[in-house]
Each structure stands twice: as C-alpha cells, then as structure tokens.
C-alpha cells in the first residue's frame, strides 16, 4: 500500500476515492519510564523511553488506518495527517487520518 501525505502520488493517477480512513491509539506511560523521566527532568535531554513509546504508538495508529483502507478496497492512502493530544495526565492519544484511494500507475 502506498502511503503519502501529499494530495497526489507522483507517477500515479487516482481512479477512485474511497473516503476518509482513520486510526487512533491511546497510550499511557508506565511507572518505570515515569521514574526515569522524572530524573531526566533534572538534567534535561531526550526521553528515549517516551520517544520509543510514541513511535510504536504512531505506527499502530497508522496500521489501523491502513487496515480500514484495505477494507474499503483502496490500494493507497493520500494526504495523511497526524495529531497528538493529551487526554489525561500521563496518557496521550495518537491519531492518524487520510483519504483511501485507488491509484493506478500512469502511462
């Protein structure tokens, strides 16, 4: 499946628009990571545990979106957008959305 965040796919023509597809996931950090993060707040720098957590969560949201696109019979998702929001203290929602389309190579 082709995934892009532009409205068009270079070299492909969009034959059919299947509609909006979306995927989300809400993740909470766990205690061990919170503890390390608290220490890190004293000296600054990257919070690697959280970065990994969010990368994994965003991938899952994307996969859910792709599963929906497949269900609709699309072979590509265009104009993908990501958003993150804090739901409650210590839990983040990752949300991915885009438009499922049927794309064919041009020429």
């Amino acid at each position: 499946m082709i995934v892009v965040n532009t409205e068009t796919i270079p070299g492909y023509a969009i034959r059919e628009v299947k509609g909006l597809v979306q995927g989300n996931t809400i993740r909470a950090k766990h205690l061990g990571r919170d503890f390390v993060a608290n220490l890190k707040n004293l000296v600054g720098g990257e919070l690697k545990g959280y970065t990994e957590l969010l990368i994994e969560a965003r991938r899952q949201a994307l996969e859910r979106m792709l599963a929906q696109a497949e269900q609709l019979g699309g072979n590509a998702v265009v104009n993908v957008r990501f958003t993150t929001s804090t739901i409650t203290q210590g839990a983040a929602e990752l949300y991915a959305y885009g438009t499922a389309v049927v794309a064919e190579p041009e020429g």
Partner: protein, 165 residues
C-alpha cells in the same frame, strides 16, 4: 535566618547547579552531534511544498517520520519560571525547542536516506505537550516535556533532474 534556612534551601540550590552544569553539558553535546548528523544527510532535500520535483522515480514513494520527546532541565525550568513573572522571551525554552525540531527533522531525513530517497516533500512539523512531569511534584515545579514530530513524503530524484527542479 539561621542554619535551618540554609538547610532548607540547600537541595534547591544543588538541583539548580546540577541542572545548569549537566543540563548545559547535555545541550552542548547534543548540538555538536546534531551538526555532524545534519552534515551526513545534506544530500536529502527537504521542502514543505505539496508538489514533487520533475522526474522523480515512482518506485520508491513512502511516508517518513521522525520524532523526539525532549525535557528541560531544572535550571531551564527555574529560569523560565522567573521569566514568566515579568514576561518576555523564554530564551531557555527557545533553545530547547530548536534542538528538538532539528532532531526530529534529522531523524526524518535519516529514515528517508535509509529507504534510498533523496527528497522529502510536503514536510509537516507538529509538537505537543505530553503531560508535564510524572507522578508527584508540584505543578509549578514540573519541567516542560515536549514531543516534536516531523513527517513527509520521501521520493528519489535522479541527479540529472536535480538541477531542473
């Protein structure tokens, strides 16, 4: 104003010195490392245009992302806290966000390079506050914790078409 006062204020002073020295060291080390990595991915062109350069190859198209969660140190948090009272630029946080954005962009460019692309179009940058501090701690003392992420569409542009784009 006796010994008791100094005992009460000591942990606070220690934390600020710790934050200033180690935090400063971490920041300088990160900046140096970023410079080297930015140099390594210089051949990857990044634009936020929605169009692609002419003649890009259609076989290798894909979404690339780069993300980082970054925290401020105790000194930065304290300095920003003071600044908030009188208003103005929170200079300590500005450098923090600048480093986080650069890091997210470099990671995105690195993953574009890893998949054999040399051009990233329609790049979007976003950031979100992911709940300051962990459990416990007073709200006013909690350090900033920010997630910055960058994403775009990676393609490969043959060098013969590079100049014309």
């Amino acid at each position: 104003m006796g010994l008791q006062f100094w005992i009460q204020i000591l942990p606070f002073v220690v934390l600020i010195i710790l934050g200033f020295s180690i935090g400063g060291f971490v920041e300088r080390a990160h900046s140096r490392q970023l410079k080297v990595r930015e140099e390594a991915v210089r051949d990857v062109m990044v634009t936020d245009l929605r169009t692609f350069p002419v003649g890009c190859e259609t076989a290798s198209i894909g979404l690339v992302t780069g993300e980082v969660v970054i925290a401020s140190d105790y000194f930065k948090t304290f300095a920003a806290g003071l600044r908030k009272m009188i208003g103005g630029d929170l200079r300590t946080y500005e450098t923090l966000m600048e480093r986080a954005r650069r890091e997210a962009l470099v990671r995105m460019m690195e993953s574009a390079k890893a998949m054999g692309a040399n051009h990233v179009a329609n790049v979007r940058l976003a950031s979100s506050n992911i709940g300051s501090g962990g459990a416990g701690g007073r709200r006013s003392h909690r350090a900033a914790m920010v997630e910055v992420y960058a994403y775009g569409t990676a393609v490969f542009v043959p060098s013969t078409n590079r100049a014309s784009s």
